[in-house]
Amino acid sequence: MFDFLSDYDNPTLLGAFWVTVQLTVFSAVGSLIWGTLLAAMRVSPVPLMRGFGTAYVNLVRNIPLTVIIVFTSLGLANIFGVTMGTEELKVRAFRLAVLGLVAYTAAFVCEAIRSGINTVPVGQAEAARAIGLSFSQVLRLVVLPQAFRSVIGPLANVLIALTKNTTVAAAIGVAEAALLMKEMIENEAQTLLIGAVFAFGFVVLTLPTGLFLGWLSKRLAVKR
């Protein structure tokens, strides 16, 4: 029943899921950094920064991911000649996909973190200001550490969504799980079985992530 799986060695099933994992990890790290910066912008005292953060989140959050990813390839790479520092099309497609996923996911990360910032009592920030800390110190030393601890749950949701969203990268030819699935369906004419294999693969990736982060969020939650 599953013997056809061994016919694929370019990439193998595990290899394709490994690319999915890589896409997820790079995009997660990138969007966490960019999303945190965006959240800091949205709560900063500078109107221009606040405006930029708000505009970015509302714009990017409302564009379908497929449009963003396809734009990175057809728009940035083919029309504007963005090479992402490589002439290897495969590597370039991977980097463009990470770029698109980071740009998109960061908007959601930003909103999650901002809701976390709102859970920190105003008195804390005021006290920090009162002992003479600057805005960035208040954020870095007092507010964000508490905010992060309260948003592990929502961020886990974003991470799970991101894992599944990496399948969109198949649209620009990144050799990850969804692309291998398309190849298999093209060759084997066994939609149901192949679909089940790949659905199971994604559940194997996301379920432990969700369980672990759920446990972590309980453990680290700030008891008030």
């Binding site: 030819g173 060759n187 199971f200 379920l207």
Partner: protein
């Protein structure tokens, strides 16, 4: 307690994986195998996005070689053109659409392969196509080995893309995109050196008004693709009628006319009309 949680999670995983794919099983539709017209409609699966083969025009009409062949066959089965209901069958849906009974037959650049024959039956073949390369009119790419190091494009997951990766030019830079029109846009802008898929499909694109004279086919016969008309497994009566219709289409010249109409402007050298049941490996 902990253990129970984990095993519950594992059970959830299995259930999720199964339900996620439990749409559209193999419980077939009703097999009304008799092809008598008499006022009812016939549903035929085609592609909507392949100029020259199966294309939905902006005004809602349909054109292409597959469409012409299907229309001719439907007429032989007793259906006038206004009784045909065209249905889009994308590559991944074709077997299911037939086994569920969504469509009676499929003429959608449907290559006859052993894997597919286990799921559906094929009439024909009605056209022998080959994987080929579409390049700019002034390109110097002449054979498969010229491709190593060049940038070439095909559709995500397609057989042509796999052939390039595994056999024709493993060292080529392969860009896989969502559709051939995206590939051709890249070829036009110079971002890509070649587009590869079946020559009939490429000829259809090259024959479009906006691309006339810009591209050429290299004429490499990189594979054999025998296009057949798919019907539900076991619908032998329909299958025989379609085969008779295809034979008639070749003998009365309608087949040649359809080739000329759809591929003419692209300098596409088509193969002779294949004999029924003659599959070129």
């Amino acid at each position: 307690m902990k253990l129970r949680k984990v095993s519950a999670a594992a059970a959830t995983a299995l259930v999720l994986a199964l339900t996620a794919t439990a749409c559209g099983g193999d419980d077939g539709g009703d097999s009304n195998g008799s092809g008598s017209g008499g006022g009812d409609k016939i549903k035929i699966g085609i592609k909507y996005d392949q100029p020259g083969l199966g294309l939905k025009e902006p005004d809602g009409s349909f054109s292409g070689f597959d469409v012409d062949v299907a229309t001719y066959v439907a007429k032989e089965l007793g259906y006038e053109p206004n009784q045909i209901e065209w249905v889009e069958t994308k590559s991944a849906d074709r077997e299911n659409a037939l086994s569920r009974g969504d469509v009676k037959m499929i003429a959608a650049t449907y290559s006859i392969t052993d894997e597919r024959k286990q799921k559906v039956d094929f009439a024909g073949p009605y056209l022998l196509a080959h994987q080929d390369l579409l390049v700019k009119a002034d390109s110097d790419i002449k054979e498969g080995t010229d491709l190593n190091g060049k940038k070439l494009c095909s559709v995500t997951g397609s057989t042509s893309a796999q052939n390039v990766k595994n056999e024709i030019a493993p060292k080529a830079q392969l860009q896989e995109l969502g559709g051939y029109s995206e590939c051709i846009a890249g070829l036009q802008s110079g971002a890509l050196d070649a587009v590869t898929t079946d020559d009939a499909i490429l000829a259809g694109f090259a024959a479009q008004d906006q691309y006339k004279g810009q591209f050429k086919l290299t004429g490499l016969k990189l594979s054999n693709e025998n296009y057949g008309i798919g019907v539900k497994k076991g619908a032998t009566e329909t299958l025989n009628k379609i085969n008779d219709a295809l034979e008639k289409m070749v003998s009365d010249g309608a087949w040649d006319t359809a080739v000329e109409d759809n591929f003419g402007p692209a300098n596409y050298k088509n193969e002779e009309a294949p004999k029924i049941g003659q599959i070129v490996q």
